[in-house]
């Protein structure tokens, strides 16, 4: 009897030791009550942590993120509060939090083009300062290295320090109506000429716009035009990563790119191209009024949602076309999350624990399944998800990433965006010619670089 008790005690102690001795990061199974799941349903055990709060944007992919957070809470027992904000208020909320005495947020989600301000200002904690052993999984995309900050070169590059982690990885994709293309026997366009030919052939004026641009003043048109500009081999500045901020946006290839962009909008788009934002693009394609357009990957969930779309199953995406003599290119518009410097270490560790969990294959798989588009791990794009019809966007997205580029990665980025967003829009609504718009943009950008103490210069003016 006594030996049996001793044996039970020893077994009990061994069990407790075994549980406690499980190293952090060991996968644990989902709740035992659930039926057996394939190996990918094993999630990371990140341990118990105090509640944290994340500043997150109300974007088309938010629903997927919210669900995956619930899953995190169920599995770990940790609490993650989401402070959901519309895009327009995100930057100011993040600034106020990071610049204050103590941030109310443990993660702040930042639009990629605003990350430099936070890195440069020293408002975020380098992740290795929180956990010296933290390693970014090679499967997680760094989106043209926007997660790192190199203090020496003042640039976001891989030689720098890891400052943030990706939450979502938007790039622009080419959306088109598969049913109409197939019926007309057209192949998926690879060049802008093919896009124009399809628009010419299938467009029907106000009933079906052949091609629609996102021409609203500001970020919309600046972001939209980047594929055309980069594809034509043009750039905004000569070699910013290496310190040469000579303004090149008024080069002849840039003008060709702008002229083509304007011609697409005017020939095939609605007369209100100059006021079309992302929501309008979604509206036009889901109501069947647009044949082709370029739009962020995150807008995809609207296409196959029968409550929102009249063209369910009739839209697909592809790599953004290129000029016949140009290259493929697409701008990145991802979200990066950073941990504010002004919070206690315990909260920082709790925050990092969530992201370690979130960036695992299992969590990313679920994120994508829940509508979190696009996930940030590349192996998710090789999973069985990619073979499901509703995830048919994955192939084009994966194909686009090697051509995807971060832009405006310097402290004057916001000013440059304001200048380009205005001048391009002025050209689109007919206030300026393309040459004049680019010349004026170049002058304004030059002034911004000069004030920022950059080594800069100007190209000769384009003939107006």
């Amino acid at each position: 009897m006594c030996s049996k008790r001793k044996l039970l005690c020893v077994l009990g102690l061994l069990s407790v030791w075994a549980v406690l001795a499980l190293p952090r990061g060991t996968p644990i199974a989902l709740a035992a009550a659930q039926p057996a799941k394939p190996a990918k349903d094993l999630f990371l055990d990140v341990g118990k942590h105090p509640p944290i709060t994340m500043l997150i944007n109300q974007s088309p992919w938010y629903g997927g993120f919210e669900k995956v957070v619930k899953l995190y809470e169920e599995q770990t027992g940790n609490t993650l509060n989401l402070d959901v904000s519309p895009y327009a208020g995100m930057l100011e909320k993040a600034r106020n939090a990071a610049r204050g005495k103590e941030s109310p947020f443990d993660w702040v989600n930042i639009d990629t083009q605003n990350t430099v301000e936070f890195y440069l200002g020293g408002f975020l904690s380098p992740l290795k300062e929180i956990d010296s052993g933290f390693q970014l999984d090679p499967q997680v995309s760094t989106y043209d290295d926007c997660l790192f900050w190199n203090e020496r070169t003042q640039w976001r590059d891989r030689n720098g320090v890891l400052m943030g982690l990706p939450v979502q990885g938007n790039v622009n994709l080419y959306y088109y109506r598969t049913d109409l293309f197939e019926r007309a026997g057209l192949k998926v366009p690879e060049t802008w000429d093919e896009v124009a030919a399809a628009a010419e052939k299938l467009g029907k004026g106000g009933e079906l716009y052949g091609f629609v641009v996102r021409g609203e003043r500001g970020n919309a048109i600046r972001f939209d035009w980047m594929s055309y500009m980069l594809g034509a081999g043009a750039s905004i500045e000569k070699d910013a990563p290496n310190g040469d901020f000579t303004v090149t946006v008024n080069s002849p290839p840039a003008k060709r790119a702008l002229d083509f962009y304007l011609s697409l909008a005017k020939r095939f788009g609605p007369p209100n191209s100059g006021a079309i934002g992302q929501n309008d693009l979604i509206q036009l394609i889901t109501t069947g009024k647009a044949l082709q357009l370029n739009m962020v990957a995150a807008a995809w969930p609207n296409m196959d949602n029968p409550e929102r779309s009249r063209v369910v199953g009739k839209v697909n995406v592809a790599l953004i076309p290129r000029p016949a003599d140009g290259v493929f290119a697409t701008p990145i518009g991802n979200w990066v999350s950073g941990i504010p410097k002004n919070i206690p270490l315990e909260r920082k560790r709790a925050a990092l624990a969530f992201m370690r969990w979130f960036l695992t294959f299992e969590a990313q798989y679920k994120f994508a399944e829940f509508g979190g588009i696009p996930p940030v791990r590349m192996d998710v794009f090789d999973s069985d998800l990619a073979t499901r019809p509703q995830f048919r966007w994955m192939a084009a997205y994966k194909k686009s990433l090697p051509y995807a580029k971060q832009l405006l990665g310097y402290k004057e980025g916001a000013q440059v965006e304001a200048v380009l967003g205005l001048r391009l829009n002025q050209a689109l609504v007919g206030e300026l010619s393309s040459a004049k718009a680019l010349n004026l943009a170049a002058e304004d950008i030059y002034k911004a670089f000069q004030q920022g103490g950059r080594k800069t210069g100007l190209l000769p003016k384009l003939p107006e």
Binding site: G206, P271, A414, N425, V429
Partner: protein, 311 residues
């Protein structure tokens, strides 16, 4: 028993101090409120003045203020977009406030003659003021939508060409002004109606007895008597219109091109989007000074002197 002479002399200065405090108590009572008000207005004003002559950067999690003297002023002199914003703002103020005053007064004159259903029409009229600016922006943006908006559907039904209400630089400002008029005419209407209903009936009856026609009663009796109310409404609407932000931010964000760029929106972009705090501060100061100059000038004019608050 009378108090001793020495005691009375000793109480004298204390009594006079107490009397002084008593007599000036109302001013002392204001001191805490005044101090709070000064702290809440003076400190931000001084801070913004300091910002206006500085460049503010951020490094190592700190604000770095660098005194740059007139550099922001030089940027202002070269800032063509601010001049456009100012011009657009003035157009917006003059057109919107004039139409709102005319419409509001006309409606108030009509409404004060209606005796039945006062509660109903007043409730209906007050609705646009109650709608939040964000809802107004969304609602009108939908109505102005080129492909699905009600205005273009009506035009198409009439066999006319649809218009790019918010995308055509020639139309955008008018479209935005129309929204402002819809939003604010009820405000003008309600205040003027209250003013009209408070007019002494005797004066209007006397004008009738003297044989004045409708126009003469309006020109020589009603308008002079509601002058103080009119002047207050004009001043408020002008100041509010000068500060217009939400409607334009939601409808056009200043576009297309520079067609609807206004001062408040421009300052917002410089300050919050471009993060140029020093220059944004200078623009804010210039805007405050412009509004102060308007209010000061207005109070010196004939119309302004009718303002019952003008003192």
């Amino acid at each position: 028993m009378a108090p001793a002479a020495g005691t009375r002399e000793a109480a004298g200065p204390a009594r006079s101090l107490a009397d002084l405090l008593d007599a000036t108590f109302q001013y002392w009572a204001l001191v805490p409120a005044l101090l709070i008000l000064l702290a809440l207005t003076l400190y931000p004003m001084l801070s913004i003045l300091r910002m206006a002559v500085s460049t503010i950067d951020f490094a190592q999690g700190q604000f770095l203020w660098t005194f740059t003297g007139l550099q922001n002023w030089r940027s202002f002199v070269e800032d063509w977009l601010f001049r456009i914003a100012l011009k657009n703002t003035l157009i917006f103020v003059i057109v919107a406030v004039t139409i709102e005053m005319l419409l509001g007064l006309s409606l108030a004159l009509l409404a004060c003659q209606i005796q039945m259903g006062k509660g109903i029409y007043r409730t209906i009229m007050v609705l646009p003021i109650l709608v939040p600016a964000v809802a107004i922006g969304c609602m009108w943006r939908l109505m102005y939508n080129y492909d699905f908006g009600i205005f273009n559907q009506a035009l198409v039904a009439l066999g006319l060409t649809p218009l790019a209400w918010l995308a055509d630089p020639r139309l955008a400002m008018a479209s935005v002004i129309l929204v402002d008029i819809w939003h604010w005419v009820p405000f003008v209407f309600l205040i003027l109606l209250a003013g009209l209903e408070a007019l002494p009936v005797e004066a209007l009856e006397a004008a009738n007895v003297d044989g004045a026609n409708g126009w003469q009663r309006l020109r020589y009796v009603i308008l002079p008597m509601i002058g103080p109310t009119l002047s207050v409404v004009v001043m408020f609407r002008t100041i509010f219109a000068f500060k217009v932000f939400d409607e334009i931010f939601l409808l056009t964000s200043g576009g297309p091109g520079t067609a609807t760029e206004v001062v408040s929106l421009y300052i917002y972009k410089v300050f919050f989007a471009e993060n140029r705090l020093g220059y944004g501060a200078l623009l804010a100061i210039l805007t405050i000074l412009t509004i102060c100059a308007f209010v000061g000038t207005y109070r010196w004019t004939r119309l302004g002197r009718r303002d019952p608050w003008a003192g």
